[in-house]
């Protein structure tokens, strides 16, 4: 039986590569018994029939494609697979930021931050049937590696809390209060957002109480923060949803990274673990749209002031998120981004400026 669809295109065409990893794992044999000629028939992608300082005969047959791929990637400078993501970007990302923003209600804005990965990006895909143990997250129908909008939201929220804490240390109460307001406006007034704030050990509880007082919430001596927050939530019942909408990011290449974990006691290396990653130097763009829908009845000056504050705060959050990194394994330094271009427009067509 021949697995005819792999062809010679492994290195440059994602669709073949994915199939190769996902579908063709169904081999009955445990060890490779075939001769080299037979293997070439079985795996026509194997155009260089000698990957073998390593002895391919030791591989299990079902692992052979992966071993072949790893070998090639290692040999040729972590060669990467390039993905045509043009069509896909047309579907899922905003094409003309300025014209798009003009349709929105006054004091809406849209941000497009282009960046370059300074280190590999990895986020685990739930896809169960995949030859590589740690496949990178991809869109379901297009198999394009991606960062979900919800991941951007998560990482920007973490950055926001970092920034609030830094102001805390500066002992600048006003700034902390304003930033907390921006935090709730941008990300929403859900209890999960609040929990992220109070779970952080460094956040000054008194400042949170001060914030609630200034928002018109009466506080009794014995009230705990959760109860106070509930009152705040009830007051803001129209505004549970945040004003910012985070678009997904899509990438155009994939590669493999190896992590060599060491046994803590013996210091000996264990088996290397392979991760399918978006390699460093890959470019992407983060798009965020901000719509102050919950305050549509408020005077324009109020909305304007809030939107301007929120924009500034959001810009700081983006900067910090790029530094901290996105995705998994940020502790290893993965997922760091370098800002390469920043665009921003208000709904009246004005540029938001890059201060």
């Amino acid at each position: 039986m021949h697995y005819e669809t792999i062809l010679n295109k492994t290195e440059d065409d994602l669709s073949y590569y994915i199939h190769f990893c996902k579908i063709y794992v169904d081999y009955k044999e445990t060890k490779i018994k075939d001769t080299e000629e037979d293997l070439k028939k079985l795996f026509p992608f194997w155009k260089n029939p000698n990957p073998t300082d390593k002895n391919f005969k030791n591989y299990k047959l079902k692992n052979f494609p992966l071993e072949y791929l790893k070998y090639n990637l290692e040999q040729e400078n972590k060669k990467q697979i390039n993905i045509q993501n043009e069509t896909f970007n047309n579907i899922a990302q905003i094409q003309n930021l300025k014209e798009f923003t003009k349709l929105l209600i006054p004091y809406s804005f849209a941000i497009e931050a282009k960046f370059k990965l300074k280190s590999p990006y990895f986020s685990h895909d739930d896809d169960e049937f995949y030859l590589i143990n740690n496949p990178c997250l991809k869109d379901k129908a297009f198999k394009v590696p991606m960062i979900r909008g919800s991941s951007w939201k998560g990482v920007l929220k973490k950055s926001a809390i970092d920034i609030i804490n830094e102001n805390n240390k500066d002992n600048d109460s006003n700034k902390t209060i304003e930033n907390l307001k921006s935090y709730f406006r941008i990300f929403g007034v859900g209890s999960e957002n609040f929990r992220e704030l109070i779970n952080d050990k460094n956040l000054d509880k008194n400042k949170l109480k001060l914030f609630f007082l200034l928002e018109g919430i009466s506080i009794k001596k014995d009230d705990n923060l959760e109860d106070i927050f509930k009152k705040y939530q009830e007051q803001n019942i129209q505004a549970q949803k945040g004003r910012a909408i985070f678009y997904p990011t899509f990438f155009d290449s994939l590669s493999l990274e190896v992590i060599n974990p060491h046994d803590r006691r013996t210091k000996a290396g264990k088996n290397p673990i392979y991760y399918e990653v978006v390699p460093k130097e890959t470019k992407g763009k983060l798009q965020i749209v901000y719509i102050p829908f919950d305050k549509v009845m408020a005077p324009n000056e109020t909305i304007k002031e809030e939107a301007e504050r929120d924009l500034n705060f959001l810009k700081k959050c983006i900067k910090k998120a790029f530094e901290n990194g996105i995705g998994a394994k940020t502790k290893l330094g993965w997922g760091k981004c370098q800002d390469i271009d920043f665009q921003c427009f208000w709904s009246n067509g004005d540029e938001c400026g890059n201060d």
């Binding site: 669809t5 798009f100 379901k140 129908a141 198999k143 919800s150 985070f246 549509v296």
Partner: protein, 371 residues
């Protein structure tokens, strides 16, 4: 009911995010979030009621953001003192806005008392229609949003001028070894008028049809886990109808047998596993892993809107105005989305231009009728 005008507008849409519109059903312990499906075909859909409710909010949002500074003060003592309500709508002028009825849908004269609560559930259904200007909550019962989508007050109710069909899947994206293909069936193409006349309606064989051969060496195409034999046939599918939405070309399309369509769609939905969080402690609940299914990004939908207007009723906006209001507010589906979990990256939908032509021959698109 007297004589009436009706108009039908086709709509097409593409999901730019996975779309989750839940049935609301769940079982205790393990919550599995399922999506709304057509009871006959078992194919997921976007219910017309979701579309209507969401669009109502977006139209109100657009309207209020435009007119809020220009509304006359209906609660002034001058207003309370004389004239009936209809006269007041005439007499009270927009602030800083030339009074030209019909010029822009936002400045239709009965919008003068519109408010954001004209969207959503009516919080004050028990007041009379003439009292709504002095009330601050609930549907106003006069503005274009209330007239188009309907309202119900103590003394009068109206089911509105707009009727939304469900949005059905027209083309569904599946990853194959030849890249992403959009599957559909002959039944769906015929129902949407996309199949050229003369093509046989029958497709009972267990075979897929492709319009261009993706590979000389293959006779099979895999649609998820299903491996189907295919044949190449030159069929003209009128994808130009989708032109202002997404350029789908013949080589992207795979026609599958009707009896397999539901199976293929349902086994290629986006499935996401999440953890239930205890709202008090913030900890993950034990055994609270649950899965949600959603219609994937890149799915193309079709449906229609019927607009209905009683003749000689000048308390109703013209059909043209309602169309413009729909057109100007539909872009919010691209940002604020539809359905559940929109804060978690679900629900964005891009809608085609509504293609409304005022003087269109009623036979081609609109139709005259009585009701």
């Amino acid at each position: 009911m007297g004589e009436a005008l009706t108009k039908k507008i086709d709509i097409f849409a593409i999901s730019t995010d996975p779309i989750y519109i839940g049935t609301g059903g769940y079982t205790i312990g393990r919550v599995d979030n399922t999506i709304v499906r057509d009871p006959i075909t078992n194919i997921p859909k976007i219910p017309g009621s979701s579309l209507a409710g969401t669009w109502r909010y977006y139209m109100a949002l657009k309207l209020i953001s435009e007119i809020k500074d220009k509304k006359p003060d209906f609660n002034s003592t001058e207003y309370e003192s004389h004239g009936n309500l209809k006269e007041k709508f005439e007499r009270y002028k927009w602030k800083n806005e030339p009074e030209e009825d019909g010029k822009k849908w936002e400045y239709w004269k009965y919008n003068k008392i519109a408010r954001i609560t004209c969207a959503g559930q009516d919080e004050s259904p028990n007041i009379e229609i003439n009292e709504t200007p002095s009330s601050k909550t609930g549907h106003c019962g006069h503005c274009i949003v209330c007239k188009a989508f309907g309202f119900s007050k103590k003394d009068i109710s109206s089911q509105g001028m707009l009727f939304f069909s469900d949005l059905h899947i027209l083309f569904f994206p599946v990853y194959t070894r030849f890249g992403t293909k959009w599957i559909t069936s002959k039944r769906i193409l015929i129902e949407n008028g996309l199949l050229e006349n003369g093509e046989s309606k029958e497709n009972n064989e267990e075979k897929a049809i492709v319009l261009e051969n993706p590979s000389e060496n293959n006779k099979y195409i895999n649609l998820g886990w299903l491996n189907l034999p295919y044949e190449v046939r030159s069929i003209n599918i009128q994808t130009d109808k989708l032109k202002n939405l997404y350029e789908l070309s013949g080589k992207d399309i795979v026609i599958v047998p009707d009896q397999l369509l539901s199976h293929i769609i349902n086994s290629n939905l986006e499935v996401r596993t999440s953890v239930s969080i205890d709202p008090i402690t913030g900890a993950a609940k034990e055994g609270a892993l649950f899965t949600s299914e959603a219609i994937p990004r890149g799915t193309i939908f079709s449906g229609n809107i019927r607009i209905f207007k009683r003749l000689n009723d000048d308390t109703l906006p013209e059909i043209k105005l309602v169309c413009e209001a729909l057109e100007d507010s539909k872009h919010f589906f691209e940002t604020l989305g539809i359905g559940g979990m929109t804060t978690r990256g679900f629900g964005r939908l891009k809608m085609s231009s509504l293609n409304y032509k005022e003087n269109e021959n009623p036979a081609s698109g609109g139709e005259n009728g009585e009701s």
